[in-house]
Symmetry: C2
Subunit: 407 residues, 2 copies
């Protein structure tokens, strides 16, 4: 018959198994981060290549495609290492579902590149295709963060996810601005969208700052080159305030370069964040193993004591042993409760994204929109009402009951 001590130790072993799974997921997350960065560069380069009718970045594009392919192989190798058969992951189904979407998207990369090489599609379409792939990869990281049940690991994953998402908005801004400068046009609608891309970055970096460790924040501050930031801000001001809607196409090059310097600098912070994630996993595993060892030793010595001398009490064990075991059980119970509470608090930051996803799904189903268009509709509402996207999403969901065909 299994005893209370058995379940006490089993609870601890569950924690360890989950932490080990998280460590493996952490490796995948790191590989995905490097791949996203390579795709972001390829997206930017392909946009300039297509926008210039193949005159600029032809050589860089080929180099970047090769770099991207290498990074893709690393991701695939990590995916192969994932144990899909006996996963302990809390939401294996959702994580694997996201991976299936990504792998399907990757199958489309080769034809996409062939069309880019043949100048056979508009720059905006190529950008959108890369952006969808990056969004799919970010969704994998989001599920990993949402699945983790250790508060410290979740904290590290939430910081990493938001940093990556912020960097992705920065990449989208680079592409958006490059097109605006290259075409020489920036009307009121474009300026509003530009401002929204800047705000979206700031919102992500604010959450990152809330959850990142002091040491990562230090690395983040050190990565900012004031000269680059000043240039980016100057070009943003020009792009976002052009009264007559005209921009100097000559600035396109400078914009692209300064944005690239800024984004490449973010890459080093991302590396610190993945290292941090690995360290947290390792520390927590070592800690949980040490605690399991201590707990097991304590229980064994208590039982030995009880057998050796303690007079038989009225309970199943002697009264002394009973009190000691009760203390262990209560400590563990309080610890798990505290962890669970902390986890709920950390996860709150993930809920905003879920609300937006749910509102997007509602618009897709109800208005028969594509995912991109549903998001754009939400963003447009947010811009029109001068509210945050999440606020608009909450409003959309609160009207859900009034829409036909929804519960």
């Amino acid at each position: 018959m299994k005893s209370g001590s058995h379940f006490l130790l089993a609870a601890r072993q569950c924690e360890i198994a989950e932490l080990e799974e998280l460590a493996r997921t952490g490796e995948l997350v790191g590989a995905i981060g490097r791949f996203i960065h390579a795709l972001q560069r390829e997206r930017g380069i392909s946009g300039v290549f297509l926008g210039s009718q193949g005159r600029r970045f032809a050589q860089q594009r080929l180099q970047q495609v090769a770099a991207c392919e290498g990074a893709e192989q690393d991701v695939r190798a990590q995916l192969d290492r994932l144990d899909t058969a006996t996963s302990h992951a809390r939401n294996g189904a959702r994580l694997f579902g996201r991976v299936a979407v990504v792998l399907h998207g990757l199958a489309g990369l080769r034809p996409l590149r062939e069309r880019v090489a043949a100048l056979d599609l508009p720059a905006s379409e190529a950008t959108a295709a890369f952006t969808r792939l990056v969004a799919g990869l970010l969704a994998v990281i989001f599920e990993a963060a949402d699945a983790a049940s250790d508060p410290q690991v979740t904290r590290a994953l939430v910081a990493l996810f938001n940093f990556m998402q912020g960097k992705e908005f920065a990449g989208q801004e680079r592409a958006f601005g490059a097109r605006a400068f290259a075409t020489g046009e920036s009307d009121a609608a474009a300026q509003q969208e530009w401002a929204h891309l800047i705000e979206s970055q700031q919102a992500c970096f604010a959450i990152f700052a809330e959850f990142a460790s002091a040491e990562v924040l230090q690395a983040d501050r050190a990565s900012h080159d004031p000269a680059v930031l000043a240039q980016v801000e100057r070009l943003r001001r020009i792009g976002c305030t052009a009264r007559d809607g005209r921009l100097d196409p000559e600035l396109s090059h400078a914009w692209y370069e300064q944005c690239t310097l800024r984004i490449d600098a973010m890459r080093s912070v991302e590396d610190r964040l993945t290292t941090r994630l690995r360290e947290v996993c390792e520390q927590r595993i070592a800690q949980a193993r040490a605690e399991l060892r201590d707990q097991r030793a304590l229980l064994e010595s208590l039982i030995a004591q009880a057998k050796a001398g303690e007079p038989a009490g009225s309970g199943l064990y002697g009264p002394h042993l009973e009190r000691s075991v009760l203390e262990l059980v209560q400590q563990q119970s309080l610890r798990l409760q505290a962890m669970s509470d902390e986890l709920d608090q950390v996860r709150t930051s993930l809920n905003e994204r879920k609300v937006i996803e749910r509102a997007k799904g509602l618009l897709m189903a109800h208005r028969n929109l594509s995912e991109d268009d549903a998001y754009k509709a939400l963003r447009q509402m947010a811009m029109n009402q001068n509210r945050r996207i999440v606020e608009v999403a909450v409003a959309v969901l609160s009207f859900a009951d009034m829409l036909p065909g929804t519960r």
Copy 2:
């Protein structure tokens, strides 16, 4: 190299593994329900036995102890069947932690019964000891509900948990009223506490009604004996409105009997709820298995078609296959998203309890109170302010930052 189809099928297999684990947990939950019912009876009988100085229910008590021991053996057998080594449970650590608390509590049952037999403790203390054990058992069911990630199963577990918790409040009311009638006293404070026990039951049964299936609700309505309910309500009115605080001790017997009839009738609904839980698990497993089979067959036939005739496309597969796989991936993705949204909605009802637990933990840590006293403090605040306990708990938590020694 693992393909998108591989992860598509792996996601489905994860769902099945989790559902199978839920089905096993469902068996445990059923055994716990029967054990709780037996403990509730033993609590009531022991209270009357002690209150009457051993004159009443001596024989019934011995019979009930035997029944309880049988139900306990069933729970222990189910616990032995739990796979603590390779659990897929989303929160194995918390579930096993709760089980450890319960097993420790069970070790105290024998000494408790010896003291009851020897009339060696006050009735209120015996009642409190049984109540603590029942609370521990209910916490196991709560964790099972919180761990489930299938919305339909969660729905069935939430209905069951809330019915059981409501029934437990009914059992506490029976004990409370029996003591009040037996002592012949019911002052204003006692009347307020009594009213609170009634409200707590109603809140639980309201959540039960929200999540139970139509057929269970039908069984619930059929279980209500209007004559019994009329008697219970009449005695409640007498107990809760006695102007001079005096009660007729003669009514103690009738109160106990009518409450027992009411609570025993609830047992049949509880049985329907556990049957329903098992049915839902079985249906969902059969459904998921059929879908996995269909999906696998579809993928295989698509790949065979592609190999046989379809001209080599530009992608990894031919364009026809690619579209079909994309559709599958998108369908699965939307389905998982919808399930996850539905799950969040069902779980909302579990969050109130978590908020109360968290506030309780805060009071225990900050004011150095026992768990019972922390709950009583919350309930007293709620009664004084004429608010629901959960509202008071939210208020307590919002002051948490201002308390010394808390984050």
